[in-house]
Symmetry: C2
Subunit: 206 residues, 2 copies
DNA sequence: ATATTAAATTGACTATAGTCATTTTTGATG
DNA sequence: CATCAAAAATGACTATAGTCAATTTAATAT
């Protein structure tokens, strides 16, 4: 048992940078913040940044990941007692899209970089995959799980989201997206439309 | 009737840049070529580049567009006599993906930027939309055309493509993608699988 | 031909990303 | 406490993108 070192003179540079970067980017917008701004505010050398992050955008990955995990937990909670896997998926997708839209950092990330799938799959993908797998096992989804279902769906979500950002067609974009996804999963067209448009149960706010 | 000016001392800077940029990028790879390289090779001032293109990546847009148009024309030819809209779509999608993969510029563009939809919709989107619209009119596709079908599908294609690039799972990615798209269009799962895996008629090479 | 105007082009300049040899800190050991 | 090696941090440096006031070229009118 090592004695608990109180020594905390300096937080590790990594977390300092992360915290400051998020603050700055939220306040001023991602584009406006330079690496210099970040390192200065975090009171570390310029080079230190690149010790921990490959590039400026890289710093957004852990931030997005954390968000994804929080959201995932909330969604798991919200959908735990829902029987129909199709409804679970529809609810999750819709909340995911609303959440992305609400958060400027996430939004920017997805919009700019088109979703570097490897990274965000952890957060979003895992529980999504689980829900889908369940639906398949229960025979509710006809499509069987294949290599590319996930990239297909994530890409599709990203595409719809981008479109929503560029052309300002509010409409029912998000429900439409959920509807398409249910179709891919093999749900009948009419039923899919109905499920995708059911009232969306609110997420418990944090 | 103005007399035909022979004056051709200098090609317009725009097209010179375009030609040179494509050459260089194909030879050395997109990342490796700097704007300086391009302007130097095109024998124009550095600033001239930005007179015609908003950014370095911008120069790829007209290139990609032209490709898209060529491909589209070939595909239209190839599928003109095919009765079933579902098969037309399956063939087109598969050829599109193979074409993207074969062309390093297109490929890089799609991979990096996640497909700036507005631009490429012109080329790819138009004929795709037409094929889909036909299938709907004929009652072959159950889904009806909506605002977001196109972004959804383009995004999905982009997602699958990216995934194919990162994880080197050759497999039958492309057929799988076509299969999912048929599902979205409302084709029955078994039939979709069958259509997506039919032998792919070769494109006439240019 | 000359003057006049508009459009195209230029390249020096600024700002920022990202690198890397050097220095500082840490913490283990005698 | 002094020594040392490994790890972390630094900031001067390089390379490149993108800007813009000044200049050149082209087009038209007189």
């Amino acid at each position: 048992m090592s004695s608990p070192r109180v020594q905390r003179k300096k937080q590790k540079a990594y977390s300092r940078i992360l915290i400051v970067a998020e603050q700055l980017m939220r306040k001023r917008g991602v584009e406006e913040v330079t690496v210099q701004d970040i390192t200065q505010a975090a009171d570390v050398g310029h080079g230190t940044f690149y010790l921990h992050f490959k590039s400026k955008m890289d710093v957004l990955i852990p931030i997005a990941e954390e968000h994804a995990q929080t959201l995932t937990a909330l969604l798991d909670d919200l959908t735990r007692d829902i029987e129909d896997p199709a409804e679970v998926v529809a609810i999750s997708i819709r909340h995911l899209l609303y959440a992305i839209e609400k958060d400027p950092l996430w939004s920017w990330f997805l919009f700019q970089s088109g979703w570097p799938s490897e990274q965000l799959r952890k957060g979003v993908g895992d529980s999504g995959r689980r829900d889908i797998a369940r639906g398949m096992k229960e025979g509710r989804f006809i499509t069987h799980l294949q290599e590319n279902l996930e990239p297909f769906l994530l890409g599709a979500i990203s595409g719809v989201f981008r479109n929503r950002m560029t052309s300002n067609t509010e409409e029912n974009t998000i429900e439409e997206c959920a509807y398409y996804i249910l179709l891919v999963l093999g749900i009948d067209s009419h039923e899919a439309a109905e499920i995708a448009n059911r009232p969306l149960p609110a997420l418990p706010t944090i």
